[in-house]
């Protein structure tokens, strides 16, 4: 009897000791996680905040901080031979056309012209890819100035260092279409530009189902072409641009054997056809080419 009570006390002691061990182990895990989070927080706060070093103003400059694109690169982008564009046509399954908005969608205009509204960011590799066909398409209707070279975010970002241009600090003039680009952050993720309330409304409304795919809701790049079409996400695979320099990407657009160049050209044809729909097919020399007509047919088919 006495030895039975002793065994019970012993077992009770073992239970208590085991429970203590379990609690201590759990506490150690919690402490380890807490220490990591606190260390991570202190490292973050030790970093200088973007824009704070200027002192007088944190507002980003209206001009690019880096160099502008060379004339040779710009010429490669805007001077793609018509035959190459015709060969690219409306592209295949590897190029995604913008999505048609319902006919009763309010037109997006600026200064009496249809407006192409773009939202992207420097770190975003999909934005990096999408800027190429956008620049090529818009250059058929007008002229860019001060377009600067840029790259998407470094590794471990997906598709790191994808060469591209940046709309930040650039300007665009056209008698047919207005362009409102918003680059929300730079390559490092530091904030650059903010959406106006009206732009935010358009972004929130049309960058979500049923207008945009569920998977890219609220994501970038986002493009609204005159309230007629929206482009959510990149229109072609960013992987096609991997390992290519800025100059190589620009030159590839005139190379009918380049998969990257053909994808950019086809995407640009589709964007051009969408813009033509908002400009009443003006100018005719742009909107009546075989490449743009083929793209318009694909847009009409909705595929």
């Amino acid at each position: 009897m006495a030895s039975g009570r002793g065994r019970q006390r012993e077992r009770a002691g073992e239970t208590g000791a085991s429970a203590t061990v379990a609690v201590v182990v759990i506490a150690l895990v919690v402490i380890a996680i807490a220490v990591m989070v606190l260390l991570s927080r202190s490292n973050e706060s030790a970093k200088p905040s973007p824009g704070a070093s200027a002192g007088s103003s944190a507002k980003p400059s209206a001009t690019p901080t880096g160099p502008v694109l060379s004339d040779a690169v710009m010429q490669d982008v805007v001077g793609v031979p018509a035959a190459v564009l015709d060969a690219a046509g409306a592209g295949g399954n590897d190029v995604r056309p913008p999505d048609k908005l319902p006919a009763d969608t309010p037109a997006l205009t600026s200064d009496g012209k249809p407006e192409a509204f773009y939202v992207g960011a420097g770190f975003c590799p999909f934005c990096a890819a999408e800027r190429w066909p956008l620049v090529q398409a818009l250059s058929r209707f007008g002229e860019f100035s001060n377009l600067g070279p840029s790259v998407s975010g470094p590794a471990p970002e997906v598709y790191p260092n994808t060469h591209t241009v940046t709309f930040y600090g650039s300007s665009y003039t056209s008698p047919y279409v207005a362009f409102a680009p918003v680059e929300m952050a730079d390559t490092a993720g530091n904030p650059l530009q903010q959406l106006t309330p009206e732009q935010q409304r358009v972004f929130d409304t049309y960058n979500a189902p049923p207008y945009a795919p569920k998977g890219s809701t609220g994501a970038i790049p986002f493009l609204d072409i005159g309230g007629a079409y929206v482009g959510a996400g990149a229109s072609f695979g960013v992987e096609l641009l991997q390992g290519m320099s800025l100059e190589e990407i620009a030159a590839s657009m005139s190379d009918p054997s380049s998969q990257a160049g053909q994808a950019i050209d086809a995407s640009a044809n589709l964007l051009t056809a969408a813009i033509c729909e908002t400009t009443g097919n003006q100018p005719t020399d742009v909107c009546s080419t075989p490449a743009v007509k083929a793209a318009a047919q694909r847009l009409a088919a909705g595929s």
Binding site: R11, E14, T15, S18, A19, V21, A22, V25, I26, V29, A32, I33, M36, V37, L39, S40, N43, R96, V119, A121, F123, C124, P125, F126, C127, G153, A155, P156, E157, V158, M184, A185, A188, G189, G215, S216, G218, A219, I220, P221, A232, G233, A234, G237, E239
Partner: protein, 162 residues
């Protein structure tokens, strides 16, 4: 006493809770594996706004362990945990099963600690769905540890009483 608890010294709710947590973690792991292998699905062609990373975590160098995607490892791990946490196996009188379950929970927790370290100090980005799995793993670890170590002597006692 035996009526308030399941077979042995384990409360009835413990195996059920562990099984539910394992199934939830398995579901999230399936989603993360889908995201890893489907670059054109989900946010594969776009970046989340406001963040400074696009699928950074799930496609980073740390997203693979010995060449195998961590998301896939998680999926396989939680398939195993679902099996180990079946109430029938919790009720098993084999002590080896309990220790295997605990070893798996400890291994999972250790891996989660490494992944949290990688997210905070190497990748510099937090993956929300990964965090959901981490929390589930932690809770599962606590329950299994308590159910295996904290209640072990009582289990022995119950065995003797029988």
């Amino acid at each position: 006493m035996a009526e308030e608890r399941g077979t042995g010294a384990v409360p009835r709710w413990l195996p059920i809770t562990c099984l539910i947590l394992s199934i939830l973690a398995l579901a999230v792991s399936i989603y993360l594996t889908y995201e890893h292998f489907a670059p054109t699905g989900g946010t594969g062609l776009a970046c989340p706004i406001g963040g400074k990373s696009c699928t950074t975590v799930t496609t980073s160098a740390q997203s693979r362990f010995l060449g195998v995607p961590v998301a896939l490892l998680g999926l396989l791990y939680y398939l195993g945990m679902v099996v180990l946490n079946l109430p029938a196996l919790w009720c098993s009188r084999s002590p080896a099963l309990g220790w295997i379950r605990l070893a798996a929970a400890v291994a999972g927790m250790m891996f989660v600690l490494w992944l949290i370290y990688a997210e905070l100090f190497i990748i510099g980005a937090i993956c929300m769905w990964c965090t959901v799995v981490h929390v589930l793993t932690f809770v599962l670890f606590c329950l299994i540890l308590w159910g295996t170590v904290g209640l072990a002597p009582e289990a022995d006692e119950a065995d003797e009483d029988d």
